[in-house]
């Protein structure tokens, strides 16, 4: 481990999103008094991303409401924010970062919080992927562009096609329906959110979207995007030759970690910047946090998480690591997604589950649903996904944090208080 930071030292944080801001504030909380340079490549001060696909896209909030920390607030904490600031390279030998304007910033400790970038249809070699009106959602400006094109679609009575039935795509679909737009969701897999949800919940979400008027196509095979004479997208052509007309195509087919700067600087990267549980990279002076990381677990496998919790927890761990402290991110992973009036809250990691149990009411008419799907591997509880059942979600997080596995019978029995299953200290 490197020596803890001293007051005369300087920290450079590349990335002013959730992870970067969290790391900066955690450094101050831990007593670091030196300089902190928070570098963001977007033109905006740090803002909340979760509302982008929902309230922001729906036009229900203004830019000031989206602000996470204003420049004044950061300045009060002696955190120097630079927006519109792109880093060109990291020189680990001289401990400096080179900026796009050819200036250099020295660092004692470097934090990589560079986030992720949506995958594009170019990666799938789809003809027409560059047509105007084919958009992805990551930043505030992305969301504003989608919102503006949705307004055009409303005006001209054009439909919206969402490619990819993941969280971003489904949230955008729900928001578009709220605006009264005709929406088609094209998912290449046989079910929605197949990598994370139990089959019963994938089916439930398919039914939910269809009940709200979404045209959902599973096993969808997209052949090409069609553009009009001006180069604007006008439809999606399927392998069978049919065309889904569209004035807007939103692509939500996953993200790739922004690890290019780290890789170019010779840091270990594998589908992300490789870090340990404390956010440390292969260089003792460099830590990383958030979407850009791939965490090496105790069994050697790499874990990529793209969530607010991961950004904040790794940010706190990374700050502690720079201060010479061990603060592993050990809490149960959690995540949420808002679609229509349903809040999905996920706890744990369900990969490898071989059995599922349902607690509560999945709702014959969907509207009054409140339930949780538990994932088991053998007798071990791996995680659970709750729909409008926050109490279950919180109980599961506590059970998993405590390493307690209830039985399938126990979790399915709504008369059984889940929280009471956590062993009380004797």
């Amino acid at each position: 481990m490197s020596a803890p930071l001293q007051p005369e030292d300087s920290v450079v944080i590349i990335g002013a999103g959730q992870a970067g801001v969290q790391t900066a504030e955690a450094l101050r909380t831990l007593g670091f008094a030196g300089a902190i340079h928070l570098l963001g490549d977007e033109p905006h001060a740090p803002y909340h991303r979760p509302p982008l696909s929902k309230a922001w896209l729906a036009g229900e909030m203004d830019a000031a409401q989206l602000v996470m920390r204003s420049p004044e607030v950061l300045a009060r904490k002696n955190i120097t924010l630079r927006t519109g600031c792109t880093v060109r390279a990291i020189d680990r030998a001289t401990k400096t970062v080179a900026l796009a304007d050819d200036s250099h910033l020295p660092y004692t400790g470097l934090v990589l919080a560079t986030g992720s970038t949506p995958r594009t249809l170019n990666a799938l070699n789809l003809p027409g992927a560059d047509a105007k009106g084919v958009l992805a959602l990551r930043s505030r400006d992305d969301a504003s562009a989608i919102s503006a094109q949705m307004a055009v679609c409303v005006e001209k009575n054009l439909g919206v096609v969402v490619i990819g039935g993941g969280f971003i795509g489904l949230e955008v679909a729900a928001t578009a329906r709220k605006k009264g737009l005709a929406v088609t969701v094209l998912e290449a897999a046989p079910r929605l959110l197949g990598r994370v949800l139990a089959p019963v919940l994938s089916d439930w979400y398919a039914a939910l979207h269809r009940s709200h008027g979404v045209r959902l196509v599973l096993d969808a095979q997209v052949a090409a995007l069609e553009a009009d004479a001006e180069g604007a997208v006008c439809g999606v052509r399927m392998q069978d030759g049919s065309v889904v007309p569209a004035g807007l195509v939103v692509v939500g087919i996953g993200v790739a970690a922004n690890d290019q700067l780290a890789a170019a600087a010779g840091l270990e990267c594998e589908r992300g910047i490789v870090v340990d549980a404390c956010g440390r990279t292969s260089d003792a002076s460099v830590v990383a946090a958030g979407d850009c990381t791939a965490r090496r677990q105790s069994d050697g496998a790499l874990l990529r998480l793209e969530s607010v919790q991961n950004a904040t927890e790794q940010g706190k761990s990374a700050a502690a690591a720079l201060m010479g402290q061990e603060r592993p991110f050990a809490a149960t992973p959690w995540f949420w997604s808002d679609q229509y009036d349903k809040k999905l809250q996920m706890a744990g990691l369900s990969t490898g589950a071989d059995a599922w149990a349902v607690r509560g009411d999945m709702g014959a008419d969907l509207s009054h649903a409140s339930f949780t799907v538990f994932h088991f591997k053998g007798a071990t509880l791996l995680g659970a996904d709750s729909v409008n059942a926050g109490k279950d979600h919180l109980a599961v997080r506590k059970l998993l944090d405590a390493g307690v596995s209830p039985t399938q019978q126990q979790v399915a029995d709504t008369a059984q208080d889940l929280a009471s299953l956590i062993a009380k200290p004797v």
Binding site: H48, R49, P50, P51, K54, A55, E60, M61, A64, Q65, L66, V67, M68, R69, S70, E72, V73, R76, V308, Q309, T312, W336, D338, K343, Q345, N388, A389, G390, K391, H393, L394
Partner: protein, 107 residues
């Protein structure tokens, strides 16, 4: 719109003018009031914008939703009868002069 007074656990008091539709969480984070974190951006998913509402004014607030009541079970500081999540309280004229107190910890 409403003027809302935030009192941090160390006694620091700040009054902020909030336009209609702004949540009490947004008012706090935009103005740098420590003591409100708002990790999830106001989605009622993280329980880090816990506050104690002036008890005499509780009746001026819309009742907490089931989702808010669920998440209040996860607040880091003591949950009291006047505990609310600041992200779920939107400014309206009815809240003029409201005082909320912030707990010592949110996480």
């Amino acid at each position: 719109m409403a003027n809302i007074t935030y009192i941090e656990s160390n006694g620091t008091s700040t009054t902020i003018h909030l336009n209609d539709g702004w949540s009490l969480m947004q008012g706090a984070t935009a103005n740098g009031i420590d003591g409100i974190v708002g990790e999830c951006g106001g989605s009622c998913a993280c329980a880090t914008c816990h506050c104690y509402v002036d008890e005499a004014r509780l009746g001026d607030l819309p009742a907490a939703s089931d989702g808010e009541l669920d998440m209040l079970e996860n607040v880091a500081a003591e949950r009291k009868p006047n505990s609310r999540l600041a992200c779920q309280i939107k400014a309206t004229a009815a809240l003029e002069g409201l005082i909320i107190r912030l707990p010592e910890t949110q996480e």
